[in-house]
């Protein structure tokens, strides 16, 4: 099907939360995420891009939002009233994160280790621990090219706790929009926090041993979370048998194949939307959308949203 001006494309993905992940960094996750978002907007869909790579968010470079709202993202930390504290040691003994050290006459809190679970204030027999907050980063929201709704989180430099900020970014998903959620690289807790509750995950991979090794782990994460998964092969150079063999035996569908193209790399390096500069790739993203609908359709005819 040839598309002109985005007319005549019927896409039924509203309310869906589609995560983009990869395992390995630099496979083109953000490139595919922003261009897919752009494609959906071009096809007349209401779409929001959410950047959960809060350590190194890059989506804004391409979506170019004008930011209308910016707010500090806070997490709870315990505050000790040393007057009331009897140094009984209960809080420090129960804290699983080694965030509290009880010294005689002084209870020390290490905010960088605290998970904000509230256990210390709940176990304190004298009510000496109350709940304060600290900033871990900021959340910004705005509207970018083609009226794309945009939300990202920016983790403070030196801050280890990415997960609470990722959860806050995800809370901005909108029911009446298609939500494209860009994940960080890796396969541990920040990726789990991003993927958890998604309707589908698109894994962007590259045909190299590193790409394949990390893709397998990322797909294992998606499987553990029970999320339907498809793959986009980026920078294809005419096939990579270990990758195609793996996808076939694992029954993972290929949603799109994007060739190695120096023009894409050049436009990416400048912060351009590829589909604006190289419209011949619009068909690739149309087939990505179609194949994604198929993937979701085979899982559930009713497109029921997950919790």
């Amino acid at each position: 099907m040839r598309v002109k001006n985005g007319e005549g494309i019927v896409i039924d993905l509203t309310g869906m939360n589609i995560a983009m992940a990869s395992g390995k960094g630099g496979t083109g996750k953000t490139t595919v995420a922003v261009n897919f978002t752009w494609f959906l907007a071009y096809a007349g869909q209401r779409v929001q891009y959410l950047d959960c790579d809060v350590e190194e968010p890059n989506g804004h470079i391409f979506i170019k939002p004008s930011i209308r709202a910016s707010s500090a993202s806070k997490v709870m930390i315990p505050v000790v009233d040393q007057e009331k504290c009897t140094s009984c040691g209960e809080c420090g003994a129960k804290c699983q994160f080694h965030a509290i050290v009880n010294l005689p006459g002084d209870t020390l809190i290490f905010p960088g280790l605290c998970h904000s679970c509230g256990l210390c204030s709940a176990v304190c027999p004298t009510g000496a621990i109350t709940e304060g907050t600290r900033d871990v980063g900021i959340i910004e929201q705005g509207r970018g090219v083609r009226e794309i709704e945009f939300t990202h989180g920016i983790l403070n430099v030196g801050e280890a706790m990415a997960v609470p900020l990722i959860k806050k970014v995800k809370m901005e998903r909108k029911d009446q929009f298609i939500n494209i959620v860009d994940a960080p690289p890796g396969t541990s807790c920040p990726v789990v926090a991003t993927l958890n509750g998604s309707d589908a995950v698109i894994m962007v991979t590259e045909p190299t041993p590193f790409g394949l090794h990390d893709l397998k782990i990322a797909i294992d994460v998606a499987r553990l979370l029970n999320i339907p998964t498809g793959v986009v092969i980026n920078r294809d150079q005419g096939g990579y048998p270990p990758l195609s063999d793996y996808l076939e035996t694992s029954h993972i569908p290929v949603l799109a194949v994007i060739p190695e193209d120096a023009e894409i790399a050049r436009h990416y390096s400048r912060g351009d939307i590829i589909l604006e500069s190289l419209p011949s790739y619009i068909d690739t993203y149309l087939s990505l959308a179609t194949n994604l609908e198929k993937l979701l359709g085979t899982v559930s005819n009713s497109h029921v949203r997950r919790a």
Binding site: G23, P185, A218
Partner: protein, 289 residues
């Protein structure tokens, strides 16, 4: 002991490929892969595992249904929405705080440490000790596993009388990166001349500064956007960060990877291999011990 850690902020700038080549050029060192989520260095170092160590960290709650009275206290206590209405703990939402365990009036919660990963101590054909790890998919505490891998690497270096540890770091600037760079002698930042690469470079430079680690920069794929490469050079100059070298874009690097080799050994005559040799000489001369 000098620990040199290679980081990038942005993923996929070529960290591991650069490390694999430096491994062939810098002597007298142990190798460590701190990207425990997605460890790739073992794919090009041909390691032989000589010892495996289990990594356990963090507990997870599990509700024993037979004992559960469905009173709901655990759900009220849990700040992570990890307990469903039918009192099943979602292991991926549970952060292991123990609130449910400590407050359950029926003692229906089990709270145990699980195996979260494995650490591999290896030797390599070049004779370098090599340590890497695999965090199980979706697990937490990657920072702690990074610390374990670094400790093992340093111990192996000490035992073998080696003066350096060369560390392949993870992408990003969060928990595992902080754990990888703290206390090292040098953060070697591999960047690329793209808008994203520069953005992420600046954040990882700030991180190194925050922890008072000296940094130096290598621009990979330096010829894909000359204007961006110029901006990186200007940025490094303004911020007093040594620019150790520029590597041209080279398709052979992927081919070397497919052959399980570093580009300097697979294609030593390429300009990229020469550029990496120059960089390694600069590192050796600056950080000689």
């Amino acid at each position: 002991m000098k620990e040199i850690v290679v980081v990038s902020g942005k993923g996929g700038t070529g960290k591991t490929s650069v490390v694999a080549s430096l491994a062939c050029l810098i002597e007298n060192k142990a190798m460590v892969d701190c990207d425990v989520d997605a460890a790739n260095l073992s794919l090009v170092l041909s390691p032989r595992v000589i010892e495996e160590k289990d990594f356990t960290a963090g507990k997870k709650a599990r509700i024993i249904q037979e004992k559960c009275t469905r009173c709901g206290i655990c759900r009220d206590m849990c700040r992570f929405d990890a307990i469903s209405q039918d009192f099943i703990v979602d292991p991926f939402s549970c952060e292991g705080c123990g609130a449910c365990f400590f407050f359950c009036p029926a003692s229906a919660v089990e709270f145990e440490t699980g195996l979260a990963g494995r650490c591999y101590i290896c030797d390599t054909p070049s004779g370098d000790p090599f340590v890497y790890a695999e965090l199980f998919p979706g697990e937490e505490n990657s920072g702690k596993l990074v610390a374990m891998v670094r400790t093992e690497g340093k111990e192996r270096a000490q035992q073998a009388g080696l003066s350096r540890v060369l560390i392949d770091g993870p992408p990003g600037i969060g928990c595992p990166v902080i754990s990888s760079i703290t206390g090292t002698s040098l953060a070697l930042i591999v960047t690329e001349p793209t808008a994203s690469g520069i953005h992420d470079l600046e954040r990882v430079v700030q991180l190194a500064r925050h922890f008072e680690i000296p940094s130096a920069v290598i621009v990979n794929k330096s010829d894909i956007n000359q204007a961006c490469t110029d901006s990186i050079e200007k940025y490094c100059l303004q911020n007093n960060i040594p620019l150790l070298g520029r590597l041209p874009y080279e398709k052979m690097i992927s081919e070397a990877q497919r052959q399980g080799k570093a580009v300097v050994e697979y294609a030593p005559d390429l300009p990229v291999s020469k550029a990496i040799r120059d960089i390694s000489e600069r590192i050796i001369s600056i950080y000689k011990e």
